[in-house]
Structures are given as structure tokens and as C-alpha cells.
Amino acid sequence: MTYKVGIPQGLLFYDYYPLWKEFLNELGTEVILSKKTNKTILDQGVSNCVDEACLPVKVFHGHVCDLKDKVDYLFIPKFVSIYKKEFICPKFLGLPEMVKNTIEDLPPIIDIEINLRKSNLNLLKAVIKTGQYFTSNLSKIAMAYNKALKHYERYLDLINQGIVPIEAVKMYNLSLKRNKSFNQNNLNIMILGHSYNLYDEHISMNLIKKLQSQDINVLTPEMIDTDQINQHSSRLPKRMFWSFGRKIIGSAFSAIEEKSIHGIIYVSSFGCGIDSILIDLVERKARENSIPFTLLTLDEHTGEAGVNTRVEAFIDMIRWRGKDESNISTHG
């Protein structure tokens, strides 16, 4: 019998989906995805989650609701740390528990702990434990994981070439060669924020496509080279021990210092604790280097007027700054 394993399209989905999917497929299971975030998923998430959680965590709960009756297992690993001496947000640490205690009638959850804070060896343990849900053959598990890693590397490669994860996730296992170089005449705008806010088209109100349709090259933290990120984030006076923080700060500082961008839009979900520090750090750095910065705070709002106005005004301002004053006859 082929087991159906459900993966919710939320939180770390855009960070790891190809790896998870290929690994689970190689183990002989069928992977079922929840639908893309929509109003129903959002509503279900909001009503099935503690009130204090941030929007993406609520949305994740909605995805679980969407999946729970269609699958034999739910894949919700307990992410504690993905990098030595670092943590990720505490809400990920308690995610499987949060889901179990608020949503009823769930299928069994694969909630293997992933904690690389002390040693990378723990990753191997997590891989084996996950594999053991479906087979007792250790070499089969190892082979499945290695194959999955290859696909995952291709996915990361695509993103490094400047392809937005929303697109890359659709094409990583096609053997297409696509070198997407940025159009030199376009504005380069960096969109900062957590992957689960940026690439969820419902939460971010399709921000990336909106910008791209206005001849703007969109740069995101995922597209910046890891070495660059580590190098730039290590210059902070105190070590950034949040993995998300290291990535956002490192990628932002690298782009600001290389002067490769015309502006930064930070997308944050209301109430994010890590963002409250990151936003300020990035804004100060941008200001020092005269790079325009704006913040979009998102929550349950579905009216897009507020976001559209801010983005439109921001792009207007950058284009206006780019021109000579003599070109604009604002004084009549």
C-alpha cells in the first residue's frame, strides 16, 4: 500500500519542499500538497490557532485543516535549529504541539526533531527516523536522501540564478537550462522578509508579481550567496543567533554595500518578534547608504489598497529620485 503523506504549503515550505518531496517519494510514498493559501485556508487557520500567533503560523494551521482528511500522515517536523549555535523562531519549535492541541481528528504526524545546534550528526538521525516510518532498510533511506539532495541542489541553483522560489519550485526537476539574467534597464528592488511571507502569494498580496509586471527586477534573500550572507552578517557587533535574522541581515547588508539595488521593501507580518529587530537594523544601514527603504506590515487584511498605495508611492519616489530635477516641472 502506498501511504499518502501531506505537506502543508506554509512556513518552511519554500525553503525545503523539493528536498522533502523527493525524499518521501523515494521512500515510496505519495506526497499530497495542501492547496495554495486562499481565503478558506486563512479563515480555518485563524479559527483553529491561538490568537497570539503571527499570520503565517495561523495560515499554516489552515493548510493542516485542508490536508488532514486526505492523507495517512502529516509531515510537520519540529524545527529547533538548522545551523550550529543558532535557533529559529520559537513558534517553529512548538509547531507540531501547537497543531496537535488545536486541531482535532488529525492523522499521525511525522514530527521528527531537527536540531543542529550542537552537531550536524543530528540531521542524519532525523533523516533515519523519518525514513523508518516507511521502511526498515537503512541503505534505502540513505539512498533516498542522497537522491533528494541532488534535486534540492538544483532547486537552490535556480534560486541563485535569480529565479523566484515560487517559480523554481515548479521547475527544479525539469532539465531546462534557464539563465535568467536581470534586465539592466530595470529598477532592482530587494524584497526582504521571511520566505513564508514573501512567497505566499495570498499573504504578500502577490507583491513579487506586481513588481515584476512593472519592469522591476526582484531580488530576495534566498538569491544571495550563502558565503556573502555569512560574511556580512558576521560584521554585526553581536552574533545574530536567529537563522532567519542572519539570512535577512546578511543578504540585505551585502546588497546595500554592493550598491546593486535601488530600494528595499521589507515585508513583515504583524507581531513578528525577530522582525522588530531586523527591520531597524536594515533600515539604519539603508539610510546610511541613502538607499530608500519602506516597510509593509501584513495581517489578515484582504483589502489590497493599502499595500498598493505604499508600493506605488515607493516606486514613484525611486523613479523620481532617479531623474534630474529639471525633468519634472512640479512647480508648473
Partner: protein
Amino acid sequence: MKNYYLGVDVGSVSTNIVLLDEEENVIIKKYLRTQGKPLVILQNGLREIKNEIGDFKVKGVGTTGSGRHLASIILGADIVKNEITSHAIAALNYVPNVKTVLEIGGQDSKIIILKDGIVTDFAMNTVCAAGTGSFLDRQAARLGVEINDFGKLALKSKNPVRIAGRCAVFAESDMIHKQQLGHNQEDIILGLCQALVRNYLNNIGKGKDIQGPIVFQGGVAANEGIKQSFKQALNTEIYVPKHHDVMGAIGAGILAKEEVKSKGKTNFKGIDITDIEYKVRGFECNDCANMCEVVEITSDDKVIARYGDKCGKWTDSINTNDEKLA
């Protein structure tokens, strides 16, 4: 017949209409409460203008505000601009060397920083409407004071009380507490003005380089108490333009003039639009789980606009209809 440019700002609280001449002088202005019926108010406003100044020719139309797209569909706008750009352009027109624009409207507030006549930085309030006109509206209603008298009363205060301004709910409990202690109304009102200014400067103005000349505009600029509090907090002169309440519309009018100058003609559908009956209908599309709230505007059973859908199915279908008709 006189030639004028029409600027329209459809905001959450007010719908503002101005006519500008070639020299960008305001010929007539209308500040109307939107009351959730932007289309009707817009038509009424235009009709009033027509009755007051007789026939005129519109050479160009610009729209701004959160209802700018709706207004543009009805009027046939030449340019549709966001509020930041419109307000900045209008402020520059009155104070050419302006460096900071403080704008407080009904549901949003903004700060615009300019350098050499170019917007270099701006910020708008985030999720909540604290620090905006509706905050004052609410508190005035609670105190039983007309919002128009609010500013005058504030200026009478000698000893303002401190009120928490971060959130309207906190402010209310703080205010009631101060009332119970026996503070008089003027002191509480000025306290509220100072709370709003403190909130504005700490939230929207955070980290911004606020330099003079400073222009204060938007509906709330009519409030002397707020102006006074800004002056005190920033320790500089605050300039409130004569037409501070319709600056967005003026900006849109100026932009329309520029646009028509380069384009050579206007898209304006004619002043007769005041006599057309528009029906607005909203429906929830149930074709997918997004359940978008689609808005449809019709006149004479003909659909003239649809919007609000994420996938573009409804918006696109109207465009193809148009082509068939043409």
C-alpha cells in the same frame, strides 16, 4: 467658456474636488464626507460645482486617494496617482522649498521628506489607525464635543494632562481615569492632541530627518490644538496652507495638467456623468476557494467596470466586452 483642470481625492472619510485654472489657482473646492458612498458624493459634488459656477470645460482630470481607481473609471481620469505623490506635489506648489510634509487624514497619516523638491523618503501608518483623524473623531464623540470646536477648546488649556496615545482603547481608559480625577475638559482635549502628535512622531516619524520648512496638511490640519502641539514638539514654525483640507485633490489636478500637456488631450467623459445613474453591486465569486469580493459598476444595464478579483477573470471579461462594443 473657462478651461479648468479637475482634481479629485476620494478618501476614506472625505471626498474632495477642486478645479484649478492654468496658473494652478483653486477656483472652487468641495470638501464632502464620503459616508461610504463615494460615487454618489462625487456626482453630487460635481453637480454643486456646475450650479455654482455655471458651464466650464474640463481640460484634464486627475484622481487620488484610496478610491482613486473607482473615481477614475467614472470620470475618465488622465492620471491616477497615489496620495504620497499627490500631496508632495501640492505642498511643493505652495512652499517650493518645503522639506517635510506632515499629512493626517481620516484613516491614514503620512510623513513625506523632500530634498530639492524631490521626495526622498516617506512613511505611512501601519496596521492600525492610531494617530489619525478617526482617533480624534472617536475621542471627540466620547467627550461630547463637536470635532470642529476641538482645536479651539484645546488652545484654552493651560495645564494639559498626559494621556496614553498608542492605542484608542488605552487612550479611552486613560481619559476616563483623568475625568474621574476631576481634570477639566480643555486640559484633557489638549492632552489628547499631544498624545496624537507624540504617537505620530514616534511611529510614523521615527528615524525621519524632520527639517523646516514644515507643511502640515490633511483634514486634521484644521485642528489648532494639533498644530500647536506639533509646533511645541518640533520647536519650529508649522505652515498650514489655506487649502490644507484638499491638498491631495490639488496635487492630482496639477499632475493632470502636466499629463494632458504631454498627451495633448483628455479622457474626461464629460460633465454629464453627474446625470447618469450608476449601480454598484458586490458579489462573492464562488468559483474557487479565494472567494474574491468582486465589485461591479453598471449604468443602463451595461457593465462599465468590474474589479476585486485576484485571478482577473471578471476584470478581463469586461475588457473583452468593451472591444466587442467598439
